[in-house]
Symmetry: C2
Subunit: 197 residues, 2 copies
């Protein structure tokens, strides 16, 4: 790998970590350059615009998400085991165990939901893909005979998403130590009433 690619990668890793705490908008080129002991213009040359940097950060984060959440879950057999794996990995991701400051996509989604542009479009596509994956995973569980046949995959996905968003909210802002336990209970109930009778 060429030298430029190495530093570019270093920059991106730091940028993902920073922006998962502060958000994508107050990720600033000068600050990032200082952190990495680079010159502002030297760092800038790698991306040519701030929007391109933001997109690269999202791309990097998406890769990490796929690697750490999606791919391991897809190794589980279709059906309830895979649904559970997805949930567990997702929880670990949105905790600060993997990245500091929680989930970058939650922050970015709120920041850009009203702000048109390439970043917004990227986010919509990524989130849409993720929701579709959850829905498909739920439908596989139907095919496997684990979940009831009249289950709506999309509805399952939206409810699961809500459970994790609530977990995020109660854990991060309210710092409620009982939140995660309630989240797991809610998930168990969702699975229970999705099961085949």
């Amino acid at each position: 790998m060429a030298k430029g690619q190495v530093t570019r990668q270093t920059i991106l890793e730091r940028a993902v970590a920073v922006s998962s705490v502060t958000g994508l908008e107050k990720l600033t080129i000068g600050q990032l350059a200082d952190d990495l002991k680079l010159s502002k213009s030297g760092l800038f040359a790698h991306f040519k615009s701030k929007e391109a940097l933001q997109l690269a950060v999202l791309d990097q984060a998406t890769d990490r998400f796929t690697e750490l959440v999606v791919r391991p879950a897809l190794k589980e057999p279709r059906g309830e085991p895979r649904v559970r794996a997805l949930f567990e990995r997702w929880m670990a991701w949105s905790r600060n165990t993997i990245l500091p400051g929680g989930c970058l996509f939650v922050t970015a989604s709120v920041e850009f939901d009203d702000q048109p542009g390439a970043v917004h479009d990227f986010l919509v596509r990524a989130q849409q893909d993720w929701v579709d994956l959850i829905a498909t995973t739920a439908r596989f569980a139907v095919e496997a005979g684990h979940f009831r046949t009249n289950l709506d995959g999309k509805r399952f996905a939206q409810e699961l998403y809500g459970i994790l968003l609530a977990n995020y909210h109660f854990t991060r802002l309210l710092a409620d130590p009982a939140a995660e336990s309630r989240t797991r209970t809610a998930f168990e109930h969702l699975v229970a009433r999705s099961r085949a009778v």
Copy 2:
């Protein structure tokens, strides 16, 4: 009311509307002054600092929320009717019907969950109060015999919060037209399995 209080109120109303779209951080004094055809310094003099402006905006938004969501719901009789009223008003609030750009508190919570300061503290207190109110309302429904006696109010609150956060996410970012219908279904299911047997 003195002249100053009038303009201050005008400023705040506009500021609440703007920041519910853009968030509290990119609510900028210069831009706000231009919108209202005031000088930057003249507007600034009303608040003496940006943080004070942000706090005033949150305070104003809290008042509106109390007036438009909480108070009407409290007029309903304790029990399931009040729970339903809370849900309906909350939905209307987080839609763009009342404020443009959705719920200011969701945006602000994500923006400030990792950023210490007076704004963060205000948000934590306000959201805590709101969650407590939901939990209490659920417990009233238990007392009224509508909900089962072993219902955990806090857990009910967290689940309801998740349902609305998912609605927010799917409606705003993903612009999914079926989201609200799924939200209502999820709410009905939550109520149904909270009911007394």
